[in-house]
Amino acid sequence: MKPSLDHVPKNSKRNFFQWFKYKWSNDPLFSIAVALIIMIILQTLVLGFDYDSFGSWFQAWTNNWINILRNNAATAIVALGMTFVIMTGGIDLAVGSTLVVTGALSMMLLDTGTKGFLVAAGITGVPAFIITILVVLLFGYLLGSLIGVSITKGKVPPFIATLGAMMIFRSVTQHFMQGYNPKVPAEFLQIASFKIGNFMIMPIIYWAIIALILYYVSKRTTFGRQIIAVGSNERAAKLSGIHVEKVKLRVYALMGLLVSIAAIIQVSRIGSMDFSNAGRGMEMDAIAAAVVGGTNMMGGRGFILGTVYGMLIIAVMNNLLNLFGVPPFLREAFKGVIVIAAVLLQKKEKSS
């Protein structure tokens, strides 16, 4: 379908409705952005204006927003990687379990008790933190690569490979961590809870930086564009000289790396981790965010910015449900409705 530019020239400010209609039918992210704006307005209304002054209202509003963003930062970072994975036509169900493995590793390295690896080696303080972060990131990258190798070299379907990894990673972690309660040094928690001004916004900053980098990667780099080519038409990509296996492998490795970043954020935010429950359902939240953001589950189409919007929509909706006092068990149902509604809203691919 050729977008007809005849009746509405670009940058036309002639008529708001014409502009809106044009954007709605031609910009895949437009409807998502509109939905997000509507939800934010709704949320603001529900929050109410029952405050002494504008200042105190604004403070409450900001605090509410910081809470929303911070609580979702880890999942949001994972969702960004998931977008790339889905764009290649794959899926990664193992993110929650990878989070637990990498989280457990970081805690074992940092443990201030006698079992702590780095303490035993006589390394403490900032050097210990840096080593921990580097080792955990490398480990996450390796786990992702391992999944990637089984998918590309072993030809295991992504769903199966990551389903298997999901079971293995969590089960092994739970086995080795039973009865072991590592203590994370308080200074390490600064990674997530360092305050800028009066705001505890470090996780949000990490999310923003990673989103910016990945946005650039997806739009401007060889790797980013090759992801789309591979997901859209693998055969054509291969016949155009793209190393399809390498692209896929790197996507899963990147996913592992991002999950380990999320793990560090989680550990430093809470100071502990519940190995049997942490990250459970994270893969579904990440997939939901990507799908709401316009990513095509069949591959070939996806937007980093869309996934950010998608995550925000889900997060704001959770917040709204909370404000409305919807019973906790019912909230998942709303999430389900949002996911399906978002896909219904998106412009359908016309066969050409």
Partner: protein, 528 residues
Amino acid sequence: MANAIASLLLLRFGCDAMIEMKKIRKSFGSNDVIKDVSFTLKGGEICALLGENGAGKSTLMNILGGVHQMDSGAVLVGGKEVVFKTPGQSQAAGIAFIHQELNLINDLPIYENMFLGRELKTKRGSLDLEKMQQETAAIFKQMNVDLEPGMMVRDLDASYKQIIEICRAMMTNASFIIMDEPTTSLTDQEIERVFKMMKTLREHQVGIIFISHKLNEVMQVCDRYLVLRDGNLVAKGNVAEVNTNDLARFMVGHEVRTESLKREKFIGKEFLRAEGLTNSPFFKEISFSIKEGEIVGFTGLLGDGRSELFQSIFGAEKMMAGKMFLHDEEINIRSTQQAIKAGIAYLPRNRKENAIIKDMDIIENASIVTWPAFSKKGTINRRQHQATFEEQRKALRIKMGELTDRITSLSGGNQQKVILAKWLAAKPKLFILDNPTQGVDVGAKEDIYDIIMKLAEEKIAIIVLSSEANEIIRLCDRAFVMYHGVIQGEVAGETMNEHAIMSLATGGQLPFAKGGMNKDETEPGSCS
């Protein structure tokens, strides 16, 4: 009235089963596909239906099979006029159409496939497996087929799948069977098996229409032949009275343009040499060489293995044996990246499946090959791509809107030119073009020929793969004709003509005498 007499006559001669197609016409839009074709098929004979691609064979058979409706004319079965509006009505009249792509379900056993869509059920409504097995076994016995009804279709040879389709047709009491190129994907041994089956059917007084490109097979198994060319019935008769050369001549006709395109030839030194390339079952022991500035053709019929051969040379598929030399130095290409690095470009056939990335815009489709080359630290240099493409766009005369429009907004010819542009950006030294004018209109076709000529003048070695003999003759300096994965022969200069190519492509040898052209093109025999 005449019909009644005809059927009376038939009855007297004990030959009640008969299909007549009279003055059939059919057009799609302004394109006349079938122009006044009449023929007769009797029970107990095998009739070959021959013709080049686009001659109208499939359309004619689709009319008989109820897939298409004719514009005018009449179809008579057993002397009675019938109208087929759906494939079901044609089947009910006793005509079975076995398509080239078989309609079998791999994951079901043979007997369930035999009853697909008309399953036998018990009184309780569950499948009557036992009865279906028994009936399948009975028909196999009748047709001398040595197969266990309980076997899974997946485990069968391609030939047996064909045979099962035939048995399924017999089970519905078909008295006529249309077989559309049943042997293309079969080995010689398997073909033999299908032929045996066809002969059994002939004994059972079934009439068969056999569509094939392989003239040797026609000689071997058919009683009569019909040749279509451009929607006309140009020849018919008894197979016993003709040879394969005659049939090839009927199919091609004489009015084709065969003058070769002109260019200034700068033939340099050898660029690529292949020795004994093998990836069975697709191709075996292929050896050839090509010089800089030379245009070499590869042609043959469907399933000859030429596409597979060049996809393996390009590193997209594996190579089991053989050596390749680039400028006399041995080279081992295992991936498409290596091939591109070596200066090889490959424009694939079936643009939609193999070349177009529909989720990307025009400029991205036109630059995908050079992404790694035109980038700094992984960031794509868009200016360089746009500048390069702008040049190509002018040279190739690509008609398009904006660079960021979707690739699917372009016509087939312009899409193909964009794909050409992406390879030209990589500045190849050997350009392999697989069916370069597939799905391209006439104007764009000539444009693409021009480009190929220009590239050859720039000393680029060019290999053209095409099933159109005409295209090969017009473009190439010399050409290899493939048959069943081997090079059946090489044609050049005087010997590069449609008859020679058709003869080699159907498994024959180069005809020695060129005088055969002077023979009168009479229509030997007559069928009704």
